[in-house]
């Protein structure tokens, strides 16, 4: 850090170090990185002064990977190797991707998640997204002058478990420590709410390049509580572009297009859409590879007609979210507009009409819809990294889609309902259906539909070793836990014998640790980096983080909650870890880190108890004052 830092008076006497943390909006069309600098959230620009990084990755034959504007410029010339909107493929199988025909890529139907064949080999959407994140990480580190402690990465609120896990994997691959996956509308609400000191019920309407979210939030002083969320994780500005693209084909009566022309026409379609946000008509001129010239004029009226069904498609989720929140339109105080696609005049008007039936609720657009998500993520990252500002707030988010499992006949049994506040856990008991059944296959699914076939399959795992009994006698308890990132882990246990099976819901679609290791190897083989050095560096970062956290906890209430012996024991473990960190022995660092982790379990429990007591006493005092 170039700047000297001065700690707040009255706080800890220990040197207060500002921890470098960023918020990253990994978007379908554009991505951004932001941070809090001198108490203000700012988007970090690249050397050319651009804040927005086009989410475009181009793989070249010589092993070089281009990301952003450069890649975007070459898209039409090199359509197979230039991946646009990779976010649409995150955590998705080939059958889940609409409009395959309009895309030039050579898709490979891999189990769980689709992959793309490029000149640099087969790439998964996770690897492609990691390339974007690496560029943003480098930009941030260059701009802030140090290594990042961590990042908050935003995801569409309506992203399911598979898509969230894929995003977290991409961040890991890019060498980022993920402080939290944060829902995009919630991030926007933080940026907006803190900026405007808003109170009451708000809707966040977020129409991005490829995803649509609607979240209903209750803002009270210091609390952002999501009441309900809904959306469509395959609906966005790209679809508006595609409507224009199809219109061009129809008007110009062109039928066969090569892949260069497809990419070119899509780019022109997007430009026309952007023009229509500010002008009543747009001119489209393209010279195709055949030499044919396409020359068309698109009026706003025609554009509105051809996209009316898309706009309407966003209003049904709005209705559903309000219903789930138990609210009527009149109770919503304002609608925050987020995402580049909310610049489309007809979208703005339709949202205004929907929420402003009485004419009193007009859409709020005073923050840049392209930047507000990244800014909110930066503000949250700053707090999560432990840089306490003056004020503190609490963010309560929800599960977007119900989580359940498959029962007899291919039906879904919901275990965690949609809109449950995070973190959440729920257990349910099941039984065997055949005499002597000794194993049970558990199929975890996500979605609202009755039939398993209509829901997203997340994972399958087996519980074996159930003692043979008559059908219906065994009692198997299945427990779902969803953490603050919205990620699910599931476990099953036979209650009679205690036989158990666990799964972090992952392997059926996400990447196994081996796969991530392989990808890391691949990427570092090119960069001539040393895997061992990388591993040691990561372990050292973890070790230092643990020392910081433990010492901070000791300063806070070590003297009260631990006796002399206990304090001495933790002190010894701390000293041992510090010693290990002076050396370069990876195994020793890991061992000492684990020992300190184990040695602080009891301390953690007492600290938590004391916090809970503190909350209750505080609350009782409040009650007395009333």
């Amino acid at each position: 850090m170039a700047l000297l830092q001065i700690s707040e008076p009255g706080l800890s006497t220990a040197p207060h170090q500002h921890r470098l943390a960023v918020g990253i909006d990994l978007g379908t069309t554009n991505s951004l990185v932001a941070t809090v600098r001198n108490g203000v959230a700012v988007v970090l620009n690249d050397a050319h002064g651009h804040g927005l990084l086009p989410s475009v990755v181009r793989y070249l034959k010589n092993g070089v990977t281009q990301v952003g504007h450069g890649a975007q410029r070459q898209a039409a010339e090199d359509p197979y190797n230039t991946i646009i909107s990779a976010k649409r493929f995150m955590g998705r199988g080939i059958k889940d991707i609409p409009d395959l025909a309009t895309m030039p890529y050579q898709f490979i139907n891999a189990p769980g998640m689709v992959q793309i064949k490029t000149v640099a080999g087969v790439k998964s959407p996770v690897e492609i997204s990691a390339e974007i994140l690496k560029v943003l990480r480098a930009r941030a580190e260059a701009s802030l002058g140090g290594e990042l402690v961590g990042a908050v990465i935003t995801v569409p609120a309506y992203f399911d478990d598979a898509q969230r896990q894929a995003t977290k994997d991409a961040a890991r691959l890019a060498g980022l420590n993920v402080l939290r996956l944060l829902n995009e509308p919630t991030a926007a609400a933080i940026a907006y709410g803190l900026d405007n000191a808003a109170e009451g019920l708000y809707a966040v309407y977020d129409l991005g390049g490829g995803t649509f979210d609607i979240s209903i939030l209750k803002l009270t002083r210091g609390v952002f509580e999501v009441l309900a969320t809904n959306g469509d994780s395959a609906l966005g500005g790209d679809d508006f572009d595609r409507r224009i693209y199809c219109w061009i084909l129809e008007q110009a009566k062109v039928h066969t297009l090569d892949d260069r022309d497809k990419t070119l026409l899509m780019a022109r379609a997007r430009e026309a859409k952007e023009t229509l946000s500010e002008h009543p008509s747009a001119h489209i001129t393209v010279v195709l590879s055949t030499g044919e010239v396409v020359n068309l004029n698109l009026s706003e009226e025609t554009f509105n007609e051809m996209t009316a069904s898309l706009v309407n498609k966003t209003l049904l989720p709005c209705r559903k979210a309000l219903r789930d929140a138990g609210l009527t339109v009149e109770e919503v105080k304002g609608v925050v507009m987020v995402g580049g696609s909310t610049r489309i005049p007809r979208v703005l008007a339709a949202v205004g009409e929907f929420f402003g039936e009485g004419g009193k609720c007009s859409p709020l657009t005073n923050l840049d819809p392209d930047k507000v998500v990244a800014l909110g993520a930066a503000i949250q990252a700053n707090v999560l990294a432990g840089n306490k500002g003056g004020d503190d707030w609490l963010l309560l988010d929800v599960v977007p889609l119900s989580l359940g499992l498959e029962t007899m006949g291919g039906l879904t049994e919901k275990i965690i309902p949609r809109n449950a506040t995070l973190p959440t856990a729920r257990a349910q008991e099941f039984t065997t259906y055949k005499d002597g059944q000794t194993a049970m296959s558990i199929h975890v699914v996500q979605g609202e539909r009755e039939l398993v076939a209509d829901c997203r399959s997340l994972a399958r795992f087996e519980l074996r070793g159930i003692p043979p009994m008559v059908a219906g006698a065994a009692r198997i308890r299945v427990t779902f836990q969803v953490d603050a990132d919205g990620l699910l882990s599931a476990s099953a246990r036979e209650l009679g014998t205690g036989v158990e099976a666990h799964i972090a819901v992952k392997p059926s679609y996400g990447l196994t640790d081996d796969e991530v290791a392989r990808m890391l190897q691949d990427s570092y083989a090119h960069a001539h980096d040393d895997m061992a050095a990388r591993n040691l560096a990561e372990a050292q970062v973890d070790g230092h983080r643990l020392i910081d956290a433990t010492e901070a906890a000791l300063r806070e209430n070590g003297a009260v909650l631990l006796n002399d012996d206990e304090r001495a024991r933790v002190g010894k473990l701390l000293a041992a870890l510090k010693l290990a960190l002076d050396g370069e022995d990876l195994a020793a660092v890991k061992r000492a880190t684990e020992a300190l982790n184990q040695g602080t379990v009891e301390f953690a429990a007492r600290r938590m108890d004391s916090s809970v007591k503190h909350a209750l006493t505080g609350q009782r005092l409040d009650a007395l004052e009333i």
């Binding site: 921890r19 402690v149 961590g150 402080l179 939290r180 210091g222 609390v223 049904l316 559903k320 219903r323 949250q380 707090v383 999560l384 990294a385 432990g386 503190d392 609490l394 963010l395 309560l396 449950a420 506040t421 995070l422 973190p423 959440t424 856990a425 836990q481 953490d483 603050a484 983080r545 643990l546 910081d548 956290a549 433990t550 906890a553 300190l596 982790n597 602080t600 379990v601 009891e602 301390f603 953690a604 429990a605 600290r607 938590m608 108890d609 916090s611 809970v612 503190h614 909350a615 209750l616 505080g618 609350q619 009782r620 409040d622 009650a623």
Partner: protein, 175 residues
């Protein structure tokens, strides 16, 4: 050590009763989450992160249970050792069932006719019924302490709630 033995009311510092000061519940919930939520421990050591998730989960469960009248009543009866929703507890008075069947028919008719106004009317009627059951629960649990009677009322409330949920689903299908 981690004390999960407290019941939901104790955890949130509220009296054990069906009648509830919801402003106080909301405040207690927020005060607790402000202390235990994982966002407060994103930079803490592993053991604290794990505990924070468990506590925040527990606080969410307590809050959700107490917040919803049906779940709160059901939980209060459980504290009294009565499992009102057991599968073998299914007997219902005839007049109640007849009324329910009539409402079901109204719902099916409204669905077939795509009649939003009819759904609105039915929803209103059902909401009135729900409020009456809730008032009855308060009386039976807090005043009379007649838990078996409250269990009967709770089962009726469940029927009506289910019907309301189906009305909700019918709205969804109207699009």
């Amino acid at each position: 050590m981690l004390d999960f033995s407290r019941n939901h009311f104790e955890l949130l510092g509220l009296p054990v009763s069906y009648a509830l000061d919801s402003a106080r519940l909301d405040q207690a919930y927020r005060d607790l989450q402000a202390e235990v939520h994982p966002d407060k421990f994103a930079h803490a050591f592993d053991a604290e992160q794990r505990l924070s998730m468990q506590w925040a989960t527990r606080v969410n469960e307590a809050y959700q249970t107490l917040r919803h009248p049906f779940d709160r009543a059901n939980y209060l009866l459980q504290l009294q050792g009565i499992h009102a929703m057991d599968a073998n507890n299914t007997s219902m008075p005839m007049d109640f069932l007849v009324r329910q069947m009539a409402w079901r028919e109204q719902l099916e008719a409204a669905k077939a006719a795509q009649d939003a106004a009819a759904l609105d009317r039915l929803e209103k009627t059902l909401n009135t019924e729900v409020r009456e059951f809730q008032a009855l629960l308060a009386e039976e649990i807090d005043q009379q302490r007649n838990y078996p009677l409250a269990a009967d009322t709770l089962r009726k409330l469940r029927f009506t709630d289910k019907l309301l949920a189906d009305v909700g689903a019918a709205y969804e299908e109207l699009g």
